[in-house]
Symmetry: C2
Subunit: 185 residues, 2 copies
Amino acid sequence: MTSTAELSHIGLRLFLERGFEATTVDDIAAAAGIGRRTFFRYFPSKNDLAWGDFDALVASMREHLAATPAELPMIAALRVAIVEFNRFPVEEIEYHRQRMRLILNAPALVGHSALRYQSWRTAIAEFVAARAGGTPDDLLPSTVGSVMLGLALGAYAYWLAHPETELVTAIETAFDELGAAFGDA
Amino acid sequence: MTSTAELSHIGLRLFLERGFEATTVDDIAAAAGIGRRTFFRYFPSKNDLAWGDFDALVASMREHLAATPAELPMIAALRVAIVEFNRFPVEEIEYHRQRMRLILNAPALVGHSALRYQSWRTAIAEFVAARAGGTPDDLLPSTVGSVMLGLALGAYAYWLAHPETELVTAIETAFDELGAAFGDA
DNA sequence: ACCTAATCTGGCATCGAGTGCCAATATGCG
DNA sequence: CGCATATTGGCACTCGATGCCAGATTAGGT
């Protein structure tokens, strides 16, 4: 009767109340009224609880990128796609912020994020490979994939530290400033 | 009697022979002739075994950056520092490659790398903050820190997949291609 | 409603990483 | 040599994660 979404909310609430480390899987299972063993059927790990269905978002970013007109320069295309990927309805923003604060601060989750972001980077790399001709293993695709992730994470760090700003604005500004910095290198 | 370097070599050898997951801390301790408990006094975790004294390298990169002439544009300064950070004596290159292949492929180590690279990113962010005026928490410093890490990781991925190339060349090329891509955005 | 097959559940045992505690051992120094 | 100080490693424990299996639940056909 418990859904993954429900379980995720229960877990997230406990993480925010007591901290990620201090919350055990037993705590979460007990709070949800399920067995510990069952928890691991809903989520492959305690770490994954904090990630909604990220994979669905990555899939939609893939589609967005695939539908991008070829005239748009590569970086400009990525800029639009990444901004859209990170645009959330107003009512979800606060929730998203808390979730991301957890993911980007709790050490175990920071580590886990490197694994979860792999699919995101691959989506970018495949787009770049398709654009530039070649494979996602080539230098430019793999570098742009990692670099775009870096850009997004930099913007997130800023957004989390400065609650008055907007995430999409931070991302746009990061693109501008980075373009300028590379411009006069 | 056992030094950290010695222990690190023993562990790395086992990781390469049997794989990271398949090697337990007990195996490593036994191979080194020490107790399991003692292992954890030399290294805080099994994951850290694969990282030499990365912190010393980061410290020297910090010094290099601090000594950079102010006339050199920021990205150019970072380029030199990152290339030098990743320049190793010929006889160490093969060892370094194996170590990095492990770190960037074994899932547990990929995750752990996100934690270890934090100090590297901070070093970059602090340099950028000093250059641009402001704090490392500002948007440009934190973004450039993450982006430079992304660039380096992209170059590493390429280098690991293409053994015939040189790491420093891959990094230089990554800077060139990224500059060009941002140029016509 | 009823029975059967497929699925879901959760208890139990086990593994492996990591940590606190403490007694035994080794080491440095006067 | 003898004392103070590290270093060592055994033991017990916590917690995440996984295999196994029996019991419960659900779906579907009659």
